[in-house]
């Protein structure tokens, strides 16, 4: 059946599960007696185990980074653009690992899984994970897979933040670090947008104090609204004008027309919100946005990003996207400048695009060429 997938696709992929029976202690002191991580791998781990690449996912991502889950599956993994035979992250020579983060909702232990002690869904009782927790949990997965060093750790947005945290928390594990459309920490404006999203969810009557799964309700309206706000911050004004303009999907501008007006952009946002609300767990959205708020790369070094990044031993690729206003180029430049001041090897580019924050997920010739050319230095040569 594989021949019906594109030639440069990893094809049919199967998620796997890793069980961890020892307790996991979170940064905030909470304890998880045991947990599971769902993950996917693409390509083959070399005999020398020197070609492993970790992909970290962003807010709404999952372990499904590339390929298809069935022959009928119309939607490949979230970073299929970059992962596959002959692509930037070339699975002919690299072994790619991507896991669903602890506390997320695509199969790894999280609010929508069962608490083995109560036999009830965790719901709002699941511990608050932070970026540092995810890094430690991904390290456990690596050890489970027999990996003791990453040829590269990479990701965009929140995924890029994990990659950076990896580079400073476990310097001897990370050869190369790729952080795309990332930031060293959130601004007040970033946190404010996250708070609006959380407020939308928490004020939905079906939220049931986070225990909606046990209560048999679903805060779909809250999650949809949260997603609409979030999604808006991923797009640029120019990109939206190009795509939707002022076009109507329903109604007309004719004089005397008194019908319901629905602009294309409204219809699009409603669709995105509704679809997301049936696929994504509300508690997870709350935990993920909070993990973003709490992320601060320089927190352990008295606010000095240079001191924090001084510990890393990786070569870095930092890229930003010109129309990204969620984590604008200036935030990537902060990381770049700290790396330069710390004397680290770094390449930086600002990709000219209307794709906004989503730029790292979308086709763009310069971006794809940059990633492909830079990745040639990753792994055994």
């Amino acid at each position: 059946m594989a021949e019906q997938f594109p030639q440069d696709s990893v094809g049919l992929v199967m998620p796997q599960v890793a069980r961890f029976d020892e307790p996991f202690t979170f940064e905030n002191g909470a304890l998880l007696p045991r947990h599971e991580l769902v993950y996917e791998t693409y390509g083959e781990l070399s005999q020398a185990r020197d070609n492993a690449v970790l992909i970290c996912h962003a807010l709404s991502g999952s372990h499904h980074a590339a390929g298809f889950h069935s022959p009928e599956d119309g939607r490949p993994g979230w970073w299929d653009l970059a992962i596959g035979p002959g692509k930037a992250i070339d699975t002919r020579r690299l072994f790619v690992v991507c896991s669903n983060n602890l506390g997320c909702c695509d199969g790894s232990s999280g609010p929508n899984t069962f608490n083995p002690d109560t036999d009830m869904p965790w719901g709002g009782q699941f511990p608050q994970p932070q970026v540092k927790d995810w890094v430690r949990s991904q390290k456990q997965l690596a050890e489970h897979l027999g990996i003791s060093r990453w040829a590269a750790v990479m990701g965009g947005s929140l995924g890029g933040m994990q990659a950076l945290q990896w580079a400073i928390d476990f310097p001897d594990w990370v050869d190369h670090c790729v952080a795309l459309a990332a930031a060293p920490g959130l601004t007040a404006q970033n946190i404010a947008f996250n708070e609006i999203a959380r407020h939308a969810i928490l004020s939905d009557p079906d939220w049931s104090n986070g225990n909606y799964l046990a209560q048999g309700t679903l805060p779909a309206r809250g999650v949809a609204l949260a997603r609409m706000v979030g999604h808006l911050t991923y797009m640029s004004a120019d990109g939206m004008s190009d795509r939707f303009g002022r076009e109507l999907r329903e109604g007309s501008f004719s004089p005397g027309d008194n019908s319901e007006w629905v602009f294309q952009v409204e219809s699009y946002l409603r669709h995105q919100g509704t679809r997301f609300s049936t696929q994504f767990d509300a508690n997870t959205y709350v935990l993920m946005t909070r993990a973003l708020d709490l992320f601060d790369l320089s927190a352990g070094d008295g606010g000095s990003l240079v001191d924090a990044l001084s510990r890393s031993e990786a070569d870095f690729l930092i890229a930003s996207f010109s129309s990204d206003w969620r984590f604008p180029p200036q935030r990537s430049i902060e990381i770049r400048d700290a790396l330069l001041a710390a004397g680290k090897r770094v390449t930086y580019a600002n990709i000219e695009t209307d794709n906004g924050h989503d730029g790292f997920l979308l086709p763009n010739p310069t971006y794809e060429a940059l990633l492909k050319q830079w990745m040639l230095r990753v792994g055994p040569l």
Binding site: D337, L340, R345, T347, N350, L370, Q373, W374
Partner: protein
Amino acid sequence: MSRLDLNTVLDWVPTGSRVLDLGCGDGDFLARLRDERNVIGVGVDIDPENIVTAVSKGLDVIQEDINDGLHCFTTNRFDVVVLAHALQELTHPHIALARMVDIGEEAIVSFPNFGHWSCRLHLGIKGQMPMSRAMPLRWYDTPNIHFCTVRDFEALCLTLQIDIIERATISGPGQSALGSLLPNLFATSAIFRIRRANG
């Protein structure tokens, strides 16, 4: 345009040194410095296509506008900062030069000499801005907005309290002796090794 100035720059860069190449273009010269002089190099360029090409050569490059002040580089980070045939394209050449000698122990600058006799002849006889094979663009449509002469550059170094360690010149065929003797008249390009004056 043949870039004979680069051979001189290459000769002047110590083996194994840390080099910052400003306006590195597609990274050809920086790759040469790495391969022939074993330098640890960083390139700076404004053009994304150049960044991609330089990356494909295994180089570390930073997309940045030199005119923005090079604030990303801290003092004494590099042994040598190179600015090869890009001085005349800068909005504020004097600010860039001052930053270069702060960032690097030394700087190497090459530029086309606008004092060359052919430029003077062109301007003197035709009364128009010179155009040649080396300077093929019209005055209103060229990135070269700050041409200078050898003498202009030396005067600027004096003003900026920059020491000239060494000077080399490139001249037309059969004119290298004249170029060394009367560089402001006979050099087509000049290359300077400079550093911040002590005290």
